[in-house]
């Protein structure tokens, strides 16, 4: 049974796929943990300020959706913490003392977030409005702090700093605080936080855009579209600037990744920017080339020299096509979302209203998916672009993976579980969208089932 009881070499594939699936799933929900509380509290605050019942009701609906999404994020995050060790013991064993430290702080951040999500949802209608809104503050701060710590850990894998290696390759002189603030940390963290705001803003807006396209044009839908869309539209242009910053950091610290992102084989002065295309036989085919674009972007100089893949031994090059296409997808979708933001901003500026044309609403309706895809594509760029390294330049992924037999089975099980979990989450969210009085997981009272109203709270 080669696919069931494999050895270490064969473990690499299932372990990678399992990690990518779990992280790719978790990241969507963690975005909601980061950004959704802000939207919800904003709506709640405006609602109380103006005595606007439509807004407080909207906030309550959002709070419930947040509860569902938070639960999904928490369970998937728990699996991740096991997987870090189960799948990548070589990484944890050697570098746990540096790389693990941000996760300790992250543990606290999530703890506080879980506590205050409980308080916020349970306290709805039990606390004074002011106390209730204040209880959301720790949730917002700890969500962002949690994201900082995890992404700092990832940034360390990209740019390991804060330690020395002795002759046997063992870590000595670990400085965990310094390691947390390597060159990639701030650009990655800021880019991720903005990404989270874009994902949440555009997804929530798209839900209400779909409702409006179906003819529901009440105030509920109007606010439901306006608030999140504004958040997404404000984040979009900033994100592109930050994207430029992060690309600069990659060019400086991970030249092989940058070369893969652009499919650049030869070290070139005045290198072009390639859009689309396929990398084959050490060159880009069918790509749309913007002459000198890459040099201009990376060095602010049309004749700057950009290092190509040829400078790296073949076994130190990442898989080019995946990285290149993922990168183009992110940039393309980011630009499209920027365009949407500009249209929205322009109409709002001139007319003080949301554009009501079906085309605009249709664009908003797909913007949520676009933002999620951009986010995933960005992570694929980062993670696959780092290959074959787990810790850039130091530890190869194949040396990090667990040699335990049977990892394939775990991978199959994870696929099955995530399929089921996705189906359930979608089912619950759809219910929530249709019936506003559906309770959230952290609230205490459940309604009796539809078909047997006399049975009290069957669970």
């Amino acid at each position: 049974m080669p696919y069931v009881l494999a050895d270490a070499a064969q473990n690499l594939f299932p372990a990678r796929e399992q990690m990518a699936l779990s992280l790719g799933w978790h990241i969507i929900f963690s975005c909601f943990g980061i950004a959704f509380p802000v939207l919800t509290v904003f709506a709640e605050w405006r609602g109380h300020r103006r005595g606007n019942a439509a807004l407080t009701e909207l906030a309550h609906t959002w709070a419930k959706a947040m509860g569902v999404l938070f639960a999904a994020g928490a369970v998937s995050g728990t699996l991740l913490s096991f997987e870090m060790g189960i799948l990548w013991p070589g990484l944890m064993d050697r570098f746990g003392e540096i790389f693990g430290f941000p996760f300790v702080l992250e543990g606290y951040a999530f703890f506080i977030e879980a506590i205050f999500v409980g308080i916020y949802l349970f306290g709805w209608n039990r606390m004074s409005p002011r106390a209730h809104m204040l209880s959301a503050l720790p949730m917002i701060v700890s969500g962002m702090a949690g994201a900082f710590f995890v992404v700092a850990a990832n940034a360390w894998m990209n740019n390991p700093t804060g330690f020395r290696l002795d002759a046997d390759g063992r870590v000595v002189d670990a400085r965990p605080w310094a390691a947390m603030f390597g060159p990639s940390t701030w650009p990655q963290v800021v880019h991720m936080l903005l990404g989270a705001y874009m994902v949440v803003g555009f997804t929530i807006a798209s839900v209400y855009a779909v409702g409006m396209l179906r003819g529901r044009r009440d105030r509920h839908h109007w606010y439901g579209l306006l608030i999140p869309l504004t958040v997404g539209a404000v984040a979009a242009p900033v994100q592109i600037g930050v994207g430029d910053w992060i690309a600069g950091t990659v060019a400086e610290n991970q030249p092989a990744k940058l070369a893969a992102m652009e499919g650049l084989y030869r070290t070139t002065a005045g290198a072009p920017l390639s859009v689309g295309g396929l990398f084959k036989d050490n060159r880009m085919n069918y790509a749309l080339e913007i002459p000198r674009g890459l040099s201009l972007l990376v060095h602010r100089d049309p004749n700057g020299v950009v290092r190509g893949l040829e400078e790296f031994p073949p076994d130190e090059r990442p898989p080019v096509n995946v990285v290149h296409l993922a990168f183009d997808t992110m940039v393309g979708l980011g630009s499209a979302l920027l365009l949407l933001a500009v249209v929205f901003g322009f109409v709002w500026w001139r007319r003080r209203r949301i554009p009501q044309t079906p085309w605009f609403l249709r664009a908003v309706a797909v913007s949520g998916v676009a933002a999620v895809v951009a986010l995933e594509a960005g992570w694929v760029t980062t993670e696959v672009g780092r290959q074959p390294w787990s810790v850039y330049g130091i530890l190869r992924t194949r040396d990090a993976v667990s040699p335990a037999p049977g990892l394939w089975l775990g991978f199959y099980a994870v696929v099955a579980i995530y399929l089921a979990l996705t189906a359930l989450t979608v089912l619950v969210l759809r219910r929530l969208a249709r019936e506003h009085d559906t309770p959230a997981p952290q609230e205490v009272d459940a309604r009796p089932p539809d078909d047997q109203p006399e049975v009290v709270a069957v669970r």
């Binding site: 746990g96 996760f103 300790v104 543990g107 308080i119 349970f122 039990r126 400085r175």
Partner: protein, 353 residues
Amino acid sequence: MTLADVVLGIMFVGLIAYGLFGGADFGAGIWDLLAGGTRRGARQRELIEHSIGPVWEANHVWLIFVLVVLWTAFSGAFAAVVTTLYIPLTLAAFGMIARGAAFAFRKSITTLPMRRFLGAAFALSSLVTPFFLGAVVGGVASGRVPPGIAAGNVVTSWLNPTSLLGGVMAILVCAYLAAVFLCGDARREGAEDLAHEFRIRALGTAAVTGVAGIAGLFVLRGDAPLLWEGLTGRAVPLVGLSVLAGAVAVGCLVLGRYAAARVASSLAVTSILVGWAVAQYPYILVPDLTIEDAAAGRPTLLAMLLALAAGAVLLVPALVYLYRLFQTSPPEGAGAGAAAGHPAEVPSAGPYG
């Protein structure tokens, strides 16, 4: 006491908290499983739901805390444990996913078959998850995890007498703790009859746990001699304390003093866990790896100590606030926010809702 001992001690505090809070949480799910048919069990299930609704997520972050402290401060030992014992750990993680998702989502679902399915998933995974975690503890405590990545046997490390004992004891302790905690919650909600039912269950599980514990000592003598030696040697005072506290808890239950019973039961569980730690000190992986040899470098330990202390300053008041708010709150709608304009929309779920 070295720096490494201190950090490991803090990790152990987290483990105890997980044992108590997470344990009671799992146990509540076990009673949900045993509550009987849909109609008959409805009120018990409702009480259980009320008791863990807002706190179940927080109850389980303790485990994350334990994992991250271990992997940072004792990376090698962590890598050895999770790779050798990856099967029960993966199954426990799956159990946590199934449990959390089912518990969270069933409330929002109103079709009966789907709710039954989710309820069953919640209850069953509440039973199997502590079993696997207990089996992991058994594997570690009986010295079946050698240092090194996946160096131990991935099957016999958790399919052995001590692991089975650990798994069964974990289930019993969870069920016991939950029954004791639910007595108090039932009284707070004014349901004396439910409190009485859970009291009987608490007493019953206390008896079973006691018998299993004594039988377990003989299992350990044969299967985990080092642990046996420690428990009957150095750790004897703690084992005695646990027995004593257990007896006091039973007395309190009989007298209907539920708050005192909670404290005594928690003490009984805590002292047996500490007993385990004392019995295997100074080894983190018996019989080869000591705490000192497994520990990370001094700067990391110091940084962690600082972070753990600072974090506790934030965390402890927040936790206390959550449990207080939740244990003393009026039902929804009675607070000042009810004026905010949304109707009291959730129809009360039952006589105690």
